[in-house]
């Protein structure tokens, strides 16, 4: 086997040095009662060529671009990823390296992540960003736990317009410690309704997502004012960070923590993972941040270099008092995001965000003209909710058979939103494709 270099001669020589007769003898400390009674029942091994054929055929059973025309976002976005990103990520010095605990031989990873942290702070308008968390959902959970630590208050409020799966993850994280979670409803125009917040004196944080799950852009400035009046932290989450090429950053509108899903930034959808948990906050909270941090320093000869720092927050030192249990995070995905943002540049991200907005606007207007009403009034970025006629599930299924995915129904998560479908349009959708969708939906 090409991954097992030992020859029988090697094994014999090594056994002799160790002073045992056979490989079996090496397991003398494993009691019989702990052992397997039979061989593992696994399929016979495949050669490289058989495996390649097998996986290729498995891959072909999934509908993906260009064989499939998907108008779905809902937390996972189809964007063009420049070949540069993949080429850089395929450099095995990056992907076969370990976490940079030995900084002298991992300056590549360290500088790249320092740069990633910097780009994220610029994108989100905040002071400090970490080296990544697993995904937007767990990032939101960590943000709320951080707010609870910082304010020492045991309650958080989360908008119902935050991605349903993210809210589920938050509940999973908060439940065992007994922290209380209240949900804030959304109003008619598709944005969060803060009126039920009350005085909020016992709230550690209020979390809203913008653009939210319905694609609507929240008035973060107004939310921030209200939240800060109660002494709570504003956690502004996102699933589509490309929006900040066009929209004001969460930091500029008063967010104390901005967190979310970074998959749109150069990371393939890959059936939902790996993703990228993006996390940024203000300087004053730096010692409460979960996750790794890369800092700048100098070496023994005064040359600029980078190291993991403020590690005393982390599990390997603080153990049960750590700011999080996270160890391995999503470093390579953060690298992908950095290469992507570096390729886009300030000019590119503005143009690309605008293109997303305009294309979504085009589909919106074509659908409106065809008699489909928009469900919510609030401005949107590249996702929006459409009111569909009764029986649209059949149309949806028919289109799916033809490899067109016409949005995703909201009813499973929002039972009161029957006949509402969430559509997404990114720069990957040509005008023709959108025209075709409208045609199919109206036929």
């Amino acid at each position: 086997m090409r991954y097992l270099p030992h020859t029988p001669e090697d094994i014999e020589a090594m056994l002799e040095t160790v002073g045992v007769e056979s490989l079996d003898d090496l397991f003398s400390t494993v009691p019989e009662a702990c052992r397997r009674r039979s061989l593992m029942k696994l399929p016979s091994p495949l050669t490289e060529w058989e495996l390649s054929a097998h996986l290729s055929s498995m891959a072909q059973e999934n509908a993906a671009f260009p064989a499939c025309l998907s108008f779905v976002g809902a937390g996972s976005y189809e964007h063009h990823i420049p070949a540069t990103v993949e080429a850089m990520l395929r450099r095995s010095e990056f992907y076969t390296a370990y976490t940079p605990y030995q900084p002298e031989m991992t300056q590549g990873t360290l500088q790249a992540i320092y740069e990633y942290q910097t780009l994220v702070t610029r994108l989100l308008g905040l002071d400090v960003a970490n080296a990544s968390l697993y995904d937007g959902a767990s990032a939101l959970a960590e943000a709320l736990l951080m707010a609870i630590r910082v304010t020492r208050r045991p309650r958080v409020a989360v908008s119902r317009a935050v991605h349903p799966h993210h809210r589920q993850v938050v509940r999973t994280y908060l439940a065992p410690a007994g922290y209380e979670l209240v949900e804030l409803p959304f109003q008619e125009n598709g944005t969060t309704d803060l009126s039920s917040m009350g005085s909020g004196q016992d709230l550690a944080a209020v979390a809203v997502q913008s653009p939210n799950f319905f694609g609507c852009i929240e008035d973060l400035g107004a939310v921030a004012d209200r939240v800060h009046d109660c002494g709570a932290l504003l956690v502004s989450s996102f699933t589509e960070p490309l929006a900040f090429g066009l929209l004001p950053s969460p930091g500029s509108r008063g967010a104390d923590i901005a967190c979310g899903e970074g998959q749109s930034l150069g990371i393939p959808q890959s059936f939902g993972g790996p993703l990228l948990g993006v996390f940024a906050t203000r300087d004053k909270y730096v010692r409460s941040i979960p996750g790794r941090l890369v800092g700048k320093t100098v070496d023994a000869e005064g040359r600029q270099g980078f190291v993991l720092t403020l590690a005393t927050r982390e599990q390997h030192i603080r153990r049960e008092k750590a700011t999080s249990n996270i160890c391995t995070n999503n470093s390579l995905c953060a690298l992908a995001a950095a290469v992507y943002l570096a390729s886009l540049g300030g000019r590119g991200i503005r143009d690309l965000a605008r293109l997303n907005y305009d294309k979504a606007g085009y589909l919106k207007s074509r659908l409106s003209d065809a008699g489909f009403e928009m469900a919510f009034d609030a401005p949107t970025f590249n996702e929006f909710v459409v009111k569909t006629p009764a029986g649209f599930e059949n149309t949806h299924a028919r289109l799916a058979d033809g490899r067109i995915v016409a949005g995703v129904p909201l009813a499973p998560w929002y039972p009161e939103l029957e006949n509402r479908y969430l559509f997404c349009v990114t720069e990957t959708k040509t005008r023709d494709a959108m025209d075709r969708l409208v045609e199919e939906m109206t036929s």
Binding site: R287, A311, T312, I317, R318
Partner: protein, 134 residues
């Protein structure tokens, strides 16, 4: 790390087994960590201190001291109310390394019960403890 014979252990202070020192001055007392503690920790990068007005019992944790790779809790040698904290340590935590007994002090308290100081170790007893740890 210093050898035992290299350590500075002023005779006029009282010490705890967890390596804090106390200097009583009338009705107030200053508290910090010993030369042994700072030497064991290495370069100190951050000191977490309580707020003025906080109340602690003897033996209660009142803060932490961090080096690059370790965190140590610090415990009150005697109970009392915090009158002042050494704000200078926020910018210059290394003062605890350089001068743990003077510039590197941590908190100043009004002891609840001065007799708790008598129960602490003097220089000789503390030195014995350190030798025993070798």
């Amino acid at each position: 790390m210093k050898e035992i014979h290299e350590l500075v252990l002023p005779e006029d202070l009282r010490y705890t087994e967890s390596h804090e020192w106390v200097r009583v001055d009338g009705e107030t007392a200053r508290i910090g960590i010993s030369d042994y503690a700072q030497s064991q920790l290495g370069d100190i990068v951050f000191v977490e201190l309580p707020q003025v007005g906080d109340l602690f019992e003897k033996g209660q944790e009142f803060g932490t001291v961090e080096s690059v790779k370790a965190v140590a809790e610090v415990y009150m040698p005697v109970g009392g109310e915090v009158l002042a904290v050494n704000e200078g340590l926020a910018d210059q935590p290394e003062q605890v390394n350089k001068d743990p007994y003077q510039v590197g002090w941590m908190v100043e308290i009004k002891p609840k019960d001065l007799s708790e100081v008598d129960a602490l170790m003097g220089h000789d007893a503390y030195l014995d403890v350190l030798k025993g740890q070798e």
